[in-house]
């Protein structure tokens, strides 16, 4: 019998709160840069200009909110699935502190313009070294538990956790190999076309192994936990897992369609991208058929809809993404606002949805209480859903418009629109996107409030008991 008392929840709780803190900062920066796009007067000098803040927005949310939450939630899942407390709880606590100190330094480094200009790998080499140390500590903790587990078989979620740890380590180290020129500056060890190929192999798989496999680990764990329904097909879980992690690594070049990258790498990338629909939908179908045993859970269990709507957006994302890789579609929508529309469907509709639901599930378990308010959680759900849909749909419309206006020609062979004419047509859509962003952030604030109040409730109960 496992002894709940020994589970070190403090580290998990610390990561959840840290992730929320960084998440709020990242979201607020997101709102500001969305407005800077339609009003250049909102650029406030060197440190608050779009070029620096956009980099901050993506990194603070990816590393602070996304990975911060993953660290915490993975510790929780791993303890449960290995049926033992963390092997090295003090190291995990150190991990939490190092994470936050690192995030502060990383944020400051981007503010002062330490930027490698590699998308999602902007941090300069001193921060990279810190991130690698952080990841190794995380790996030691998680794998330590896995290797000394009290449960013979590893559940699906653990497969995804292990794959995440291994693959991210390979990706991050290889793409950040650089020639250090000073403490604040380095140059990619790869040049030109080769640099592009390595970067987008990294870039696409950062999406794959930071925003897909970890979220699937949560999905496979918390969906059955929340609903009480077992995953529909273990065989489908197996097939989806192996084909997903196999195919993902071939696909980076779909970001480089029509660039000087050798055609064969582009074509191979596009082909594997199309194949990737199958394993992605393997998990989608597995999720649907799990709840198919009892659809009333969608009404009666407030968490079920987070997971099912989340996996639905994952499904849409993994149809849309491969379509974008196809050359003719890429030629229309690449470099336009369609792409941020695509990315935000994944991050707002899938990643954040599942992370929030996982937190809603974990909090009552960790603080031995009920969630503060299911009603507020439902309000949170509907508001973020509306905000996200409005955001993505707005971006898709303006992206297609941009792509089409860039391409249109006159009968004499000249282009129909100057660049400025195509730019100003985005403004109304960009303004709507800011409104959508505000709606989404309001929804997230309901989440934050609910989390804080649940913690307070748990702490008050603990005090009373003591």
């Amino acid at each position: 019998m496992n002894n709940e008392f020994h589970y070190d929840y403090k580290t998990v709780q610390g990561f959840v709160l840290s992730a929320i803190f960084w998440g709020v900062i990242g979201l607020v920066i997101g709102l500001l840069i969305s407005a800077q796009l339609w009003d250049a007067n909102l650029n406030f000098g060197e440190y608050f200009s779009y070029g620096r803040l956009r980099t901050l927005h993506t990194n603070v949310l990816a590393y602070g909110l996304g990975i911060g939450a993953e660290f915490g939630i993975f510790y929780y899942i791993v303890m449960r699935l290995t049926k033992r407390p963390l092997v090295l709880p003090k190291l995990a606590r150190f991990h939490l502190w190092l994470f936050n100190v690192g995030m502060v330094l990383a944020t400051l480094s981007l503010f002062i313009g330490m930027n490698q200009s590699l998308e999602y790998a902007e941090f300069e080499w001193p921060i990279d070294v810190a991130i690698v140390i952080l990841w190794v500590i995380f790996a030691i903790n998680v794998l330590g538990n896995v290797f000394t587990r009290k449960e013979k078989n590893m559940y699906v979620s653990l497969w995804y956790v292990i794959a995440t740890i291994i693959t991210v380590a390979i990706l991050y180290i290889v793409n950040n190999l650089a020639i250090p020129a000073s403490l604040t500056k380095s140059y990619h060890i790869f040049a030109g076309v080769n640099s592009a190929n390595v970067e987008w192999w990294y870039g696409h798989n950062a999406v794959g192994f930071l925003f897909t496999t970890p979220i699937l680990a949560m999905f496979y764990y918390f969906l059955p936990k929340s609903t009480g329904l077992p995953i529909y097909s273990h065989r489908l879980s197996i097939i989806s897992f192996w084909s997903l992690i196999f195919a993902y690594l071939w696909t980076g070049a779909h970001h480089l369609v029509y660039t000087p990258l050798p055609d064969w790498i582009q074509t191979l990338g596009i082909a594997f991208t199309l194949f990737l629909i199958a394993p992605s939908w393997g998990s989608v179908v597995n999720g649907y058929f799990t709840v198919d045993k009892d659809w009333s859970k969608m009404r009666n269990n407030y968490l079920t809809k987070f997971f099912i709507v989340g996996i639905t957006f994952y499904g849409l994302q993994t149809i849309q993404g491969p379509s974008q890789g196809i050359r003719v579609i890429s030629s229309l929508i690449h470099y336009t606002d369609w792409v941020p529309g695509h990315v935000h469907m994944g991050t707002m509709g899938w990643v954040t949805m599942v992370i929030c639901a996982s937190v809603y599930y974990m909090l009552p378990a960790m603080y031995k209480t009920e969630i503060y308010s299911e009603k507020l959680a439902n309000i949170h759900f509907w508001i973020v859903l509306v905000g996200q849909l409005m955001f993505s749909i707005t971006m898709w419309i303006t992206g297609i418009q941009q792509g089409a206006m860039w391409k249109m020609t006159n009968s004499d062979g000249s282009l129909q629109y100057t660049f400025m004419e195509t730019l100003v047509r985005n403004y109304p859509y960009w303004q709507m996107r800011t409104v959508a962003g505000v709606i989404f952030v309001v929804g997230m604030l309901f989440f934050v409030y609910n989390v804080l109040m649940t913690i307070k409730k748990g702490n008050d109960l603990a005090k009373q008991a003591a």
Binding site: A40, M114, S117, K152, N153, A163, A191
Partner: protein, 294 residues
Amino acid sequence: MSNHENSLYSKAVLFAVVAAVTVLIGTIVTVFVPMFTAGMHPKNDNLQPFTALQLAGRDVYQAEGCVNCHTQTVRPLKADVLRYGEYSKAGEFAYDRPFLWGSKRTGPDLARIGGKYPDEWHIQHFENPQAFFPMSNMPKYTWLKNKPLNASETLAHMKALGFPYTDEDAKALESSTQLDALVAYMQVIGTSVARKEAIVVDPSMIESANPFAGKPESIAAGQAIYKAECAGCHGQNAEGNIGASISDYAQGEPADTDTYITVANGLEGAMPAFAGQLSKEKIWSVVSYINSLK
């Protein structure tokens, strides 16, 4: 799961090894193997390493996150070539660490920006982009001109990259600002490929006289285009700035076809060509407007 008791899923080390091999297959085929082939390391014959000033400018480009809004690769597609120029070649980027192709065109592509405008255009445009394009959303980069370069740091960067430089180059850095450096970088981008416009107009391709001459709607249309595309260089009231005074030009009573061809083809290093992105009728309307300034 009890019937899988001795499966892969109960042996963690073996599982981790199999997972690592699985993710490495695609990695090796599409990334590691190509890395060691000549096809991934092409270099144009006339491509030169960055000078110290250009590299300092490239550092500024990276620090300011310019790559967030500007791409540096022209696709081999009709519209891209018309708008930006010759499509990008693999051999242009041999000294680019990292590549700066970008992924979003909030602003225009910069792969062929080198030599498109005179230095002064960039200096004024970084200071106030809206003076050139009133509706532009580009931030004003007013601080760059006040920031002197850190010469020793730039030289350390040159050494790290193994780029050659002379004592004169080093000395020139000390009196240069970040703005000077960024402009120098702008002017070298894409210049290892000869500048080539997709449409080059010669007199045989156009009417011998302006078919819309004197028509008020043509003059009005021309004025609107002038305000949007020309006023930054030639002045809001055609009084001249970086470029010549168009009022003075109009006084000289130039031939319509000469004006047309100058607007269409531009002037090497001084004025961009507009034939790719303005229709014949639009260029004629600019001619109508210029003639109305007499």
